[in-house]
Symmetry: C2
Subunit: 598 residues, 2 copies
């Protein structure tokens, strides 16, 4: 049976030593976060995830969700108790607005707990996760009446939220949405249509389910310009806040999926269900984008989370499993064989996962802090700078962390040999669960297009130039430091590749956008390697400095950081040259083959 320990010490190192969270004390929410409180949140969150959520992970996989003939859906045994503990502890509203009952703590803290809970039980953590996304969308776009009605219940967790975009014939291309909204003259609409792949669309955890639904108001313009967002509760709220009549929305079936069996993925049928407009008519995509962007960061975290959980179990197995002898001669003569962690290929594999994990966690926190600044600062310039980088990094995080998270789960599974293929060991579940993160909230190919097609050129490239400058300045400021030289030299070279690739797009994509499309996935990963390399630069610098000061007690952790940074430079950054070569090969060959010859 797999196990999990939340990486609280690494998070503390990142927040306190690398990112200096105390510098953010002027922002709402941060000022309430004393060092003691921070540690208490980390350790209490870790405890909940390790002791309550993790033991239910395999239960959820084995049992899955069950839809009954009347449309009810039962979640796996134990999920309801865990959900009550999760919401009862205030975890759902951790960073939500205090005006509606939230704790108002930084989004960054929510992102950390999201990692822990996704590592412990990804299928479970999607239930509160979807609600958090819906809270964000309503908080930003709904009118005060809707907010007052729904937000307190959702933040306390007694009502949940869902996100209804996809229809059988359209996912990526939301302009094709057919679900209809007919105005009733009293401010409400009747919603009719079918939505698919609705995570947590129906369940038995909450007394009400609040669906956010994209639909087309009768007579609206065609395409994405005619799409509006509606709030459609399962039970209509009564004026006193209690639940009233059942609305005409129901779960038609649930999907049989490769993984995340513990989360119900529903076909939702809207048969003239009553709903209310959120935000302006025909501006539904804008409103939904708030939820989608938050969800994309959440999904990126899922990729990291599965990689971390898979890593921990692979390390435990590699230390325990004895098989063969070290290439350089017997290491454990009293045993029949050496533990497989003596083998360079096993270590290389494990280090490649960990060098990703600890940089990805840093990049998540770096980006989450930008999100907090963008949403909470009263300094317009700081807000804009943070928002620029948040927008730029969102597709990179979503695409890279989920692609690598899945690959890492596969690598960790490989360490188990044949046992990795047997479901009882739990490694298969990490792989199967991690797989969906590459697909939902915009398949990773779409993330790559969002990056090269939208985020790169936006505001004349302001965001990407700011990022390049930041990395370049860091390299320059530290180039005299001999011990950082190998890492920063490699990072500088990779940054050069990224800049050349960016230039190549500027020169070649205008004339032919297919040149951008053909290189988009490589570019996203090239960007990710540089961003993660920058995170290693920041961490190595701090580790170095603290070791020089004589970091009592913490030397092992800090020395390990330096080993991982070196590994990253030696084994992971070399890929950027290949990516640049592929990008520069353009689209002629790719577009030349007629479709019928594929």
């Amino acid at each position: 049976m797999p196990s999990y320990r939340a990486p609280t010490a690494d998070v503390s190192f990142l927040l306190n030593d690398v990112f200096g969270i105390e510098k953010y004390g002027n922002l709402p929410g941060f000022s309430d976060l004393s060092p003691d409180m921070l540690e208490a949140i980390l350790s209490e969150g870790a405890k909940l995830c390790e002791e309550m959520l993790q033991p239910l992970n395999r239960v959820g996989d084995l049992e899955g969700c069950k839809r009954h003939d009347d449309g009810r859906v039962t979640t796996p045994k134990g999920f309801k108790e865990a959900y009550d503990a999760y919401t009862g502890g205030g975890w759902l509203g951790l960073s939500a607005d205090p005006e509606y009952g939230g704790q108002g703590l930084p989004y960054t803290m929510g992102a950390i707990i999201n990692e822990f809970s996704s590592s412990a039980n990804m299928a479970f953590s999607m239930y509160p996760g979807l609600t958090m996304g819906a809270i964000a969308a309503l908080h930003t776009h709904a009118n005060s009446e809707i907010k007052a009605t729904y937000l307190p219940k959702m933040i306390e967790g007694s009502w949940s939220g869902t996100m209804n975009l996809t229809e059988p014939h359209c996912g990526t291309d939301l302009g094709l949405i057919k679900t209809k909204a007919a105005p009733q003259g009293d401010g409400s609409y009747k919603i009719s249509g079918t939505k698919i792949f609705i995570s947590a669309g129906e369940q038995d955890l909450t007394e009400n389910i609040i669906h956010l639904v994209l639909a087309r108001i009768e007579g609206a313009p065609e395409g994405v310009k005619g799409i509006s967002l509606f709030v459609v509760p399962k039970f209509l709220p009564k004026p006193d806040g209690s639940i009233g009549a059942r609305n005409a929305v129901s779960c038609g079936s649930i999907e049989h999926k490769m993984g995340i069996h513990g989360n119900s993925t529903c076909v939702m049928n809207y048969d003239g269900a009553t709903g209310w407009l959120v935000g302006a008519e025909n501006k539904g995509l804008n409103a939904m984008f708030v939820m989608m962007n938050e969800a994309r960061l959440g999904v990126a975290i899922q990729g990291l989370a599965q990689s971390e959980a898979a890593y921990q179990n692979a390390v435990a197995y590699a230390k325990d499993r004895i098989q063969g002898r070290a290439l350089t001669g017997t290491k454990e003569p009293t045993k029949a064989a050496d533990p497989i962690i003596v083998h360079p290929d096993v270590r290389r594999t494990l280090l490649s996962i960990r060098a990703f994990n600890e940089a990805a966690r840093a990049l998540v926190l770096w980006t989450a802090l930008k999100s907090d600044v963008a949403h909470r600062s009263d300094d317009d310039k700081a807000k804009q700078d943070a928002d620029d980088l948040l927008g730029l990094m969102t597709p990179v995080l979503k695409g890279v962390l989920t692609d690598c998270g899945f690959d890492n789960a596969v690598k960790a599974q490989q360490m188990f040999g044949g046992h990795g293929y047997i479901e009882e060991w739990g490694m298969s579940q990490f792989v199967r669960d991690a797989r969906i993160a590459m697909i939902y909230e915009g398949a990773n190919g779409i993330q790559a297009l969002d990056l090269v097609g939208r985020k790169l050129p936006r505001d004349g490239g302001r965001a990407v130039m700011a990022f390049f400058n930041e990395v370049q300045s860091f390299i320059k400021a530290n180039e005299a430091d001999e011990s950082l030289k190998p890492l920063l030299g490699a990072l500088g070279k990779s940054l050069g590749h990224l800049q050349q690739a960016t230039m190549w797009f500027m020169q070649n994509a205008m004339a032919n956008p297919d040149n951008a499309g053909a290189g988009s996935s490589d570019y996203m990963h090239l960007f990710g390697l540089v961003a993660l390399g920058y995170m290693w630069g920041l961490q190595a610098k701090v580790a170095q400095a603290k070791l020089a000061e004589g970091a009592n007690g913490d030397a092992e952790r800090l020395e390990t950081k330096l080993v991982l940074a070196k590994f990253y430079a030696e084994r992971m950054l070399p890929e950027t040259g290949a990516q640049l070569a592929r990008i520069s090969s353009g689209s002629t060959t790719i577009m030349g083959l007629p479709a019928d010859r594929f």
Copy 2:
């Protein structure tokens, strides 16, 4: 529901145009293979796989195998009928020795049918596949009495074969085997012990199951030098060839696996079961290696097979699914959206799978022909040369084709968006089934070690030098051909990387074998990229020549080959530079971290 069409035209192109199968007419089995007969075998084999095996693929996945309380195992519905059709058609004995009822056709033909049947239904094709491996081991090592008793029944398919190596505490490290063999004085032994992960260990397809079992004779030396191979039938054969008493071997349980549900993976208990020695005492590993090497090629083919099947379905989906518009403007104005195959990133993904598939198929056939020469030629020099390259290429094929086969199944699944994650579409099954091929018959890390630790230095590097010379000579012989220049230029550069990496090992692995271990996986994949690139060179040259001759009717296929070769050079070969850089970084960082800090 997924579909499958066997790539018979591509196989014909490779056998006839690229490898000139008529040149092998002097070898036994090849002389019987007229062009008409070859085509008939391909089309009949295709028909069986497409019409009988493929429709059972999802049935097998859904239903799985069931063990009953009495130890019997039931295979999925329809498997028995399919098995009877398969064996009844003589497919199991296609390349087996005519002396025992086989058809004596080239092993190469068996490899082709193996690809078709694994694409159609991997879990099913393992039943005859294991039997073929057991036939090879018995044919090479067993005495004439054992051969006469078992081979005819196994070749006709009424008895099946299995391979019993792994025990709960050992897989890779067979020196730890505990299963015991006690001589009975009558030439037989009593075998006692537990074997795990035994594919097809128990089933309801055949009247008898012949287990090949590694065990330790009482008093044998420790480690791999004390392991012998035994034949242990489920039912003891009577002198007349009919089945007699039940032997003391039984299936204790079956595993719950990530995939290949249609194949029973058994824990086999030997409780003093009667067995007979195959080959010499304590030379069991040698005998088993015949089976393992054949099995490794078979597993490599499974990797290709899943990649091919997944590709075909992804292409069909990409042509059918409409979503969004082409980056360069609407392509299908009469439809609500363009098919997703207009998108460069979709095409890039599909071409990367196909450029692998068609080169991998070529490399399988190239290697299978070496196997035929090594086993059937009477020219000692030719035999040795072929055997050298067969030995060298076996770990490369096993490691690279299964790693890439899995990755490609994942990529193909990605083309389906959310639908790829839903089991009904069948893409998840390709991924889950393909995953095991990276693990069994020696996990891919072991293949990489076999390559760098054994195959590279063997006979003073004779095999690897021969391979480098062959590729180098091909490049040199064709360097004047302008149209091949882009491909051969890139291939020459990658071959240079491979040669540098080989040199680096020679200089650094002697002093410290960890330097070889740390680079072994990258080296295996670097080797694979060059070998597959060479296959593109061979194919492009032929395609070019035939187009110049005015290939009537076949122009589309030949032009497509040239596009794929170009794609391979532009998008896949650039990776070799990164691999060389990683290899050259050595083992210091990797080995430096103490095990308890992982």
